[in-house]
């Protein structure tokens, strides 16, 4: 019920007391206001909170790009690496200390372009790393160039005539590479994201989270908030994520269904 006054106050107080979001660092994120990454941040924080993971047992490994800044805003151990190398580094961290919960974080440029070669191998090795691919189809930190997931015809300063390349479908890739857990999520839905993240973290082996998000600064045409909100929709409740064949069908037919696409049946 929306009421001002005491009801509002009570709600704020409840949130303050729940300390729900302690997995944040002290520094205010430097992402542009409105950035979808905030939603992912919120989702991951909720997941950490709900799973009651001790913060010092978490390592967030990130690459370069706006997503690379993630560890600075997270009250966890962080390792901000070089461009594209998130997964190998995360592999090292996880193998070195299997007690740690490792999140690898990178954007679509980091994970599909320069670092695209690592994805199949980490999936193949089935390292128990949780990889969050922030897919906004644009290079944000370098001020707006097309990325491997940009749709054809993307016009940027680096592609004034529009791109001609086909976009990569990260979910499909992960599915093809036989990741143990594949989810497709939406940055605007932190609660749904937290749910899927929880499941992914609990699943042993490589978990891949393909997260649609928006760059409010450099993408005014494609993955805008309003478009994403229109496009994105949850998988039907009857969907069986353990059926890999069905998962392929779903992903091939529908680019925007969200939820747990595939999980290896135990």
């Amino acid at each position: 019920m929306k009421t001002p006054g005491h009801v509002l106050a009570k709600r704020v107080r409840d949130i303050a007391q729940s300390c729900a979001l302690n997995a944040r660092s002290e520094a205010l994120p430097t992402w542009c206001p409105g950035c979808g990454y905030f939603g992912i941040h919120q989702g991951l924080n909720k997941c950490i909170d709900q799973l009651k993971l001790p913060h010092h047992q978490i390592v967030v490994v990130s690459g370069i790009g706006c997503a690379g800044r993630y560890p600075f805003f997270s009250h966890t151990y962080g390792l901000h690496t070089v461009h594209g190398r998130t997964l190998p580094v995360a592999t090292g961290v996880k193998l070195a200390n299997p007690d740690l919960t490792v999140f690898a974080i990178g954007g679509d440029g980091d994970g599909l372009a320069i670092g695209g070669g690592h994805l199949p191998h980490v999936a193949r090795r089935d390292i128990d790393v949780n990889y969050l691919l922030f897919d906004n189809s644009i290079y944000g930190l370098t001020k707006g160039q097309p990325s491997p997931s940009s749709r054809p015809g993307t016009i940027t300063k680096a592609s004034p005539g529009g791109t001609s390349e086909k976009p990569l479908n990260a979910t499909l890739l992960a599915l093809t590479y036989e990741a143990s857990f594949v989810a497709r999520l939406f940055a605007g839905d932190p609660n749904g994201m937290a749910l899927a993240l929880r499941e992914g973290v609990k699943t042993p082996g490589f978990a891949f989270f393909h997260i649609y998000t928006s760059c409010v600064t450099f993408d005014k045409a494609f993955k805008t908030w309003s478009n994403l909100k229109q496009w994105v929709h949850p998988l039907p409740p009857t969907y069986d994520p353990t059926n890999r064949r069905k998962a392929f069908e779903t992903v091939l037919e529908d680019n925007f269904s969200t939820g747990i696409i595939y999980r290896r049946a135990n």
Binding site: S25, A27, P54, H55, H56, Q57, I58, V59, V60, V61, R69, P71, F72, S74, H75, T76, Y77, G78, L79, H80, T81, V82, H83, G84, R85, L87, P88, V89, A90, T91, G92, V93, K94, L95, A96, N97, D99, L100, G117, H118, P120, H121, R125
Partner: protein
């Protein structure tokens, strides 16, 4: 007791058992109490066509280098052996197949080309082996039998080597090999009794079972094991692959894991990741792979994450000469990568140092929280030396992490600026020390900061830290200390053995020469090097590269006296060239 210094070569085609034969010679003579240094060369195409040559230098006194001349050539393939003729010393022994399956035109005949002074020992190797063991595949052992008989090596040495080598492969194979060896030994003893005494004879020395033959790569692998390595990440590349292979078979036994990664970038990435998380890990590569690693190495520098990287140098640039030796990655190791990225680079000069410096590199990496690069080269990696089984002391393997003490509360500064530049490093899982390691310039607490003040202070911190590591790094070692030298020769890496041998030889002629061994290439003990150079009228720096990369590094320390001697033949530095150069310098009288 007569001294002996003999170089034995086995030459054959891939598949002839050449390498195995060479290894057995090394092992046998090592057990026989000799100092052995072996070095093989083989083609990049592992099972394809191509020449294999093993060289073993065997001496009654310590061998520090591979010589130029060959005294005994055991040919398992005459077409290939032709190329070795020019290396043969006067009156050297040539053992060869004298009943090959096909006829050879004289244009192509090995024997036809042998100079007349050579002592020829033709043997029907294939026939002997087939007769003794039912298969000609043991003909390399038959040849070894011949070698033992001709050069007066006790067959028991070879028999014990064969036994230890083949005992795991079953009685049948062992006896087949022993029979092949014995057939050759008996044949030679019988057939060449009339020439007895012509050939070089090995004296009988006290046997030494404590000695083992180790290659540089094996030493590195063993060092890593002894250092408590937990994870190895690598990508196949000549000449570093043997390290991975060695560890793949040994590391799991002590609870570790070898992961063959998808490339060198991921290898170093994973190494940084596991060091970040507190586990000792390592990768080994060669020039092409090393160049891929440079970005992440500098990330280790910036983020102050330890790492141990073996760069086994080979001929370059690019793919270059994958199976040839060269010392041309020095600049890349010391300087390679973006920015002012000071790091520690050490280069062992022999197999023993390979072991000890690799172990040391883990401590250095941990203590100074920076990548440590161990520079070896094809020659050092693959050469075998006999040495007492190295054993690391407890002090050498001790964990050198500088951990934060006490509870800093929420105020832990991962990159705290300290007197030494070393900041206490927390590991994930430690409560109360959460931080983010980053390759961005950062404040003491690790937040990104590009301000001039911070970058200046942090650059200074990192460089000060590396400079401070000098105290823990092996000092340059002076050989033949004298107040004044006509020529001082400075060597590094695998070349230093050649330097030492050359200096030793020239000194025997009464010249005032000395040698300096540099093993710490970054940071440099500049004052010690300078002091040495000042005592020399001329400083000679022989290196296996074109540019004179060490000379570039230290040349400025003493103007005007540095003479470079560069060689890019892909082979180890022959001491003879150095001797000639020293003598030239002295003869020219401009000293």
């Amino acid at each position: 007791m007569p001294t002996v210094d003999v170089t034995v070569e086995v030459c054959g085609m891939a598949g002839d058992g050449t390498i195995a034969a060479g290894a057995m010679i090394n092992e046998a003579l090592s057990r026989g109490g000799f100092s052995v240094l072996g070095f093989d060369s083989y083609p990049a195409e592992i099972r394809g066509f191509g020449r294999c040559v093993t060289r073993s230098r065997i001496g009654s006194e310590t061998i520090v280098a591979m010589g130029t001349d060959t005294h005994v050539l055991i040919s398992l393939n005459e077409t290939e052996a032709k190329s070795r003729i020019s290396f043969l010393a006067p009156r050297s022994v040539v053992i060869f197949e004298n009943n090959p399956p096909t006829y050879v035109h004289h244009d192509a005949s090995f024997v036809a080309e042998l100079p007349p002074d050579k002592l020829l020992y033709g043997m029907p190797l294939s026939d002997l082996a087939a007769e003794a063991a039912g298969t000609p595949r043991g003909r390399n052992l038959t040849a070894l039998g011949g070698f033992a008989a001709i050069c007066g090596v006790s067959p028991d040495l070879f028999i014990s080597v064969v036994e230890s080598k083949f005992k795991t492969k079953g009685e049948k194979i062992l006896s087949s090999n022993l029979k092949s060896f014995e057939a050759g030994y008996t044949y030679a003893l019988r057939e060449f009794s009339d020439k007895k005494g012509d050939a070089i004879q090995f004296p009988e020395l006290p046997h030494n079972d404590r000695m083992v033959m180790l290659s540089g790569n094996q030493a590195i692998g063993m060092a890593a094991l002894d250092a408590g390595l937990k994870l190895y990440f690598g990508y196949p590349i000549t000449p570093a692959t043997p390290i991975m292979e060695f560890l793949a078979s040994t590391l799991p036994k002590q609870g570790g894991r070898v992961v063959q990664m998808e490339d060198e970038i991921s290898s170093i990435g994973a190494v940084l990741g596991s060091f970040y998380a507190g586990a000792r890990s390592m990768t080994a590569t060669s020039g092409p792979g090393f160049s891929l690693m440079t970005e992440l190495i500098t990330h280790g520098v910036m983020a102050e994450i330890p790492a141990v990287i073996i760069d086994a140098q080979r001929g370059g640039p690019a793919t270059g000469l994958p199976t040839k030796t060269e010392q041309s990655d020095l600049h890349a190791a010391v300087f390679g990568g973006p920015g002012d990225s000071a790091r520690i680079v050490i280069a062992p000069t022999n197999v023993s140092e390979c072991y000890h410096y690799t172990i040391k590199s883990f401590q250095l990496a941990e203590k100074y929280q920076t990548p440590v690069i161990v520079l070896t080269d094809f020659y050092l990696d693959n050469r075998v030396e006999n040495l007492v089984m190295p054993l690391a002391s407890e002090a050498e393997t001790r964990n050198a992490n500088v951990s934060p003490t006490g509870s800093e509360g929420g105020n832990y500064k991962r990159y705290q600026i300290t007197e030494s530049g070393i900041s206490p490093r927390a590991l994930p899982g430690m409560e109360g020390y959460i931080f983010t390691a980053t390759g961005l310039e950062h404040t003491e607490k690790g937040s990104p900061d590009y301000s001039p003040e911070v970058h200046t202070a942090m650059s200074e911190k990192r460089h000060k830290k590396i400079a401070g590591a000098l105290v823990d790094l092996p000092k340059p070692e002076v050989f033949f200390v004298e107040d004044r030298l006509d020529v001082g020769v400075i060597g590094w890496g695998s070349t230093f053995g050649s330097v030492l041998e050359a200096v030793r030889a020239v000194r025997e002629k009464g010249c005032r020469v000395g040698a300096l061994k540099i093993t710490s290439l970054s940071p440099l003990h500049a004052s010690l090097i300078q002091e040495f150079m000042e005592r020399c009228n001329k400083t000679l720096i022989p290196e296996l590269n074109y540019e004179g990369q060490l000379a570039n590094l230290i040349g400025h320390l003493h103007h005007g006296s540095v003479v470079r001697l560069n060689l890019v033949t892909g082979s180890p530095f022959p001491p003879s060239l150095i001797i000639r150069k020293i003598e030239d310098l002295i003869d020219r009288g401009d000293i």
